[in-house]
Structures are given as C-alpha cells and as structure tokens.
C-alpha cells in the first residue's frame, strides 16, 4: 500500500525558469507536484502552492508586476486568504510582493550585477510552516541567482515587520544584493505566505553542494500534508 503523497502546486508563468526544478525537488522530498499553467482560473486540490523563480512575462515594467494579474494568481490570492500555504522563490517572491500578499518590494541589486552563488542564511524564526525543520539561529547554505533581489521597506514598514516577527531569513555575513537589514525572506502577518530570494529547490541534493533547501521544502510538504492529502495512487 503506497502512502498518499501531499500534493503541491507549482505555478508556471510564461518565462518561469525553475518550475521543473521546483517540481523535481518537491517530488524527491515525497510530494506530488502539480504544474499549473498561469491561465488556469482554479487551483487543483493541493495543500500548498509554490511560485517558482524565473522571469515571468519577461519581468517587464517591474519584476512580478505583470504576473500578479494572471488568472492563476487570483486563485492563489483566494487560496492564501483561506489560509493556504504559499511559498514564493525569487521571481515568486517578487510576484507576491507586487500582488500585495507580502510586504515590501524587491529592487535591482545595489551592485547592478547579477549574482549567482551560495550564500549563508540565518534562520530568525522556526515557528513557521516553512522553517519548522530548522533550529533557532541555524545557518543554512542556499544559492541565490538574481539581478533584482534587493529587499526594500521604509522605516515604518521595517518597524512593523520587526514587531510582528515577519522576517524569517537574513543573509548571514554575505549580503549579495544590498537588501535592507540583510533581509532574505519574509512571511505575511498570518504566517501562511512566505517569500525568499535564495533557491531552496537548488539545494536538495549533495551533488549540488548543499541539502539545506530540503529543510525548507520538507517543512512545507509536511505542513501541507496536514492540510490536504492526495488520493492514494493507483499503485498499491
């Protein structure tokens, strides 16, 4: 008898790049990944949604600014409003900020250069569905690859985020993009939507140099299985 696997949707926009990597990583960690095209008006029955990295709609105007209007994103907004778990990675983080599902905005890197390297992260919160497998203050190594990952929030918003403990990950001694206060990942006030610039899906196999990304995706899968279980597969 095969255990039912938690289902996680991975959105695919024109210009998405890491959708297959995200699906592969989720599957390798025990989930069933369902790719969802941006034109879909409804999400399949899933316990969580991942918005992958890439350059949705060419990233014209501002990164994520156009993707937020896609039919699938309206479904994601409803899913999130109902308490569904949503994780935005890189371009996915940018889309969530532009959509108003997460606070702040991602701006061009201070250096104006594209960065692509492993960075150390510090876990600031472990009581989220995304970081429950990490220890307090644990250092993770996860790669970044982006040109516009400089998180910005004004002083009032930063104070709000600190007060509500919405900053989940910070760059730990190597800030690759000039993000204010070294912010690498944030959650919404309810804690069910998270965005981060580093790519956990690229750090799930020792051959890639780190498996720390599996802590984040694994936690998401575990939390999503509490919310939804896929029907047992035909194989028994």
């Amino acid at each position: 008898m095969t255990e039912p696997r938690p289902r996680v949707a991975v959105l695919v926009f024109p210009g998405s790049q890491d959708d297959r990597d995200a699906a592969l990583a989720l599957e390798s960690l025990g989930a069933e990944a369902a790719l969802v095209w941006h034109a879909e008006r409804e999400l399949p029955d899933v316990g969580a949604v991942v918005l992958p990295g890439g350059f949705s709609y060419g990233d014209y105007l501002r990164c994520g600014a156009i993707a937020r209007f896609s039919p699938a994103m309206r479904a994601v907004a409803r899913f999130a409003a109902d308490g569904g778990l949503v994780l935005g990675i890189c371009n996915g983080f940018q889309i969530l900020c532009e959509a108003g599902l997460l606070p702040g905005v991602l701006r061009p890197n201070e250096s104006l250069s594209f960065v692509c390297r492993d960075v150390p992260l510090r876990v600031e919160r472990t009581d989220t569905p995304f970081t429950s497998r990490c220890g307090p203050g644990q250092q993770l190594t996860v790669p970044v690859k982006h040109g516009e990952g400089c998180f910005f929030a004004d002083d009032d918003l930063l104070a709000e985020l600190d007060e509500a403990r919405q900053i989940v990950l910070r760059y730990d001694g190597d800030n690759p993009n000039g993000s204010i206060n070294d912010i690498a990942g944030v959650v919404n006030a309810d804690g069910n939507v998270m965005g981060l610039m580093p790519h956990p899906e690229h750090a799930v196999d020792p051959v890639l140099g780190s498996t720390d990304g599996a802590l984040i995706l694994g936690a998401l899968i575990e939390a999503s299985s509490d919310q939804q279980l896929a029907p047992a597969s035909a194989v028994s």
């Binding site: 905005v105 061009p108 250096s111 910005f152 929030a153």
Partner: protein
C-alpha cells in the same frame, strides 16, 4: 487623448541605476551630481473628457505603472489631442 506618465524613484531611495549613469557621465568628463533614472510611459487613453482621462490615468499608476513603496509619478495630459 495623449498622455505621458513619468515614474521616478522616490527621494531618499537608493537608485543604483542613477548612480551608474552618474559615474558614466563623470568618466566622460561631465560635472554632474544627483542623477536619478526613472521611466516614461506614452499612451493614448480613450475618454470623453479630461477629468475622466485623468481619473483613469491615476488608477493605471496606482494599479500597475508605479509601485508606491518606491516610486512617485506625474501625469501629463495633452487635452487638445
């Protein structure tokens, strides 16, 4: 009606693109300071009167053309067009 929308980085917001342009100009020997790079959108809006057009343009800026966290905007409307 023809309209032009100017989107600027808000004062105080670090503008790395403006900084790079400023550095480039200085390398060319120009004495410049405070370069900021924004965005210009030309468009034609269908509207019966300028007030309606202006209201539409305001919504376009708020909903898509500018991100109020980091950008300000100005709308110019060619009312005779």
């Amino acid at each position: 009606m023809k309209a032009t929308i100017l989107v600027r980085p808000k004062p105080g917001i670090l503008d790395p693109q403006g900084k790079a342009v400023e550095d480039g100009l200085r390398h060319l020997g120009f004495a410049v300071d405070g370069a900021r790079v924004g965005r210009l959108v030309d468009l034609e809006v269908e509207a019966t009167d300028p007030d309606t057009a202006r209201a539409e343009l305001e919504r376009m800026c708020a909903d898509l053309l500018a991100n109020p966290l980091i950008e300000s905007y100005e709308i110019e409307l060619e009312e005779g067009s």
